[in-house]
Each structure stands twice: as C-alpha cells, then as structure tokens.
Symmetry: C2
Amino acid sequence: MFKELDPILHSQLRLAIVSLLISLDEAEFSFLKEKTNATSGNISVQLEKLKEAGYIDIKKSFRNKYPLTTCKITKKGIQAFETYVKDLKTYLDPK
Amino acid sequence: MFKELDPILHSQLRLAIVSLLISLDEAEFSFLKEKTNATSGNISVQLEKLKEAGYIDIKKSFRNKYPLTTCKITKKGIQAFETYVKDLKTYLDPK
DNA sequence: TTTATTTGGTTTATTTTATAAACTACTTTA
DNA sequence: TAAAGTAGTTTATAAAATAAACCAAATAAA
C-alpha cells in the first residue's frame, strides 16, 4: 500500500536542496541559500546530513580569499531521489 | 521556486491517513491502523492533529458495546491535500 | 466468580528533527 | 583601527514523530 518514505529526503529543505542539485549537478552554498530562502545554519546542518547519507559530495575551497562550499549530487543521491518520488506517489494518487 | 509545504500534511502518517480518507470518504480507526501499519497511539495523536487543523471530522460511537471512532475528510481537508500535492510538485520535477 | 485476556482506544514520555540564534574566522571598507 | 561584510559552523531551543505505558469496558478462561 504505502511505501516507507526515506526520512533523509522527507524534509522540506533537504528535498529542495537535492531537487536543485539534480537539475544543476553542482551548486554553491550561497546559491542554495538564495533559492531555498533558508538560513545559513539550517543549510549547513542539512548539507552535512545529506553528505553523511552519501547523497552529496561537498568540496571546500576558496575564491577571492573567501571560503567556497560547492555541492554535487552523487549517484546514490540521484537513486534515492528517484525512489523517494516513486514512493511518494503511493500517497498522492488516492483512487 | 519552491512552495512552502503544509506542515500538517508533510508527515508520512498524516499524509497516509488523508490519502485514505480522500478515496474512502469515511473510515474507522482500526481500518486506518491496518492500512498504515502504525501504532494506535500514533494514529490517535495524528487524527487529533488533523481534526484540530479542520481537515477531518471525528465521530465517536459504539458498535457491539465497543467504542468506534470514525473519520471523515472535510472540504478544507480535501483542499489542503490538493494544494499540498501541487506545492510538492515544485520539488519533484527538477528540470 | 474472579482472574486473565482482548478490544479500542488515550495519555504520557522519549527520541528525533527542524530551525534559529549565537558564534568563528577572515576580509574589506571607512 | 574599528566597524561592517562574507561565508559559513556550532550550539541551543522548540516542535514533531513515535512508542511505551496506561485505561475502561467487555469477553473468555480457570
């Protein structure tokens, strides 16, 4: 009947981040912040969780002397997203 | 870009309950429990929240001397579900 | 018949989350 | 050189989800 929903993805902010990364392949911290309207702290925490889950890779570097955090979705992340969307549909189409 | 997701519906169990009620119009506590595989306590709490939100009506009666809790979706609940599904799609279709 | 078990839940407690507030480290500007 | 800005991280708090414990009445078993 209803499939279990991946708790990592069943979170508004993490889902938004993954959704962005799937279409963009790579994105910077500030870009994610702007697109999601979330606070830096919240994004920082959720990126860490996505990384722990193996759904994204995080690269830390510098640009013009400032720290730069770049995120990239992993194969596992793409797979998880696709599964999540499929599972979610068992809830959305009541007929 | 991303729409805010109704926190009442962005919950696996409450979404499952509402999804069931939309297709069935009316359902008993035990039926919801069986279909969702949730514990009684969890269902009890989530039904209360859905009721507080005005998304369902709860009718308490007796059948064969045993208590019987029956739930029915409200117009507001249907509307909220439809909005939720629409909003969710801003996350699910990254292109 | 009185003890145990089942039905149909509710209430309370615990764990987990999401989020915001506070902080860090460094850079640029006034 | 003091203040403000950039780019985040860490810590604290509030809210949620969930499970465990409980309750009242009915039925079954000893």
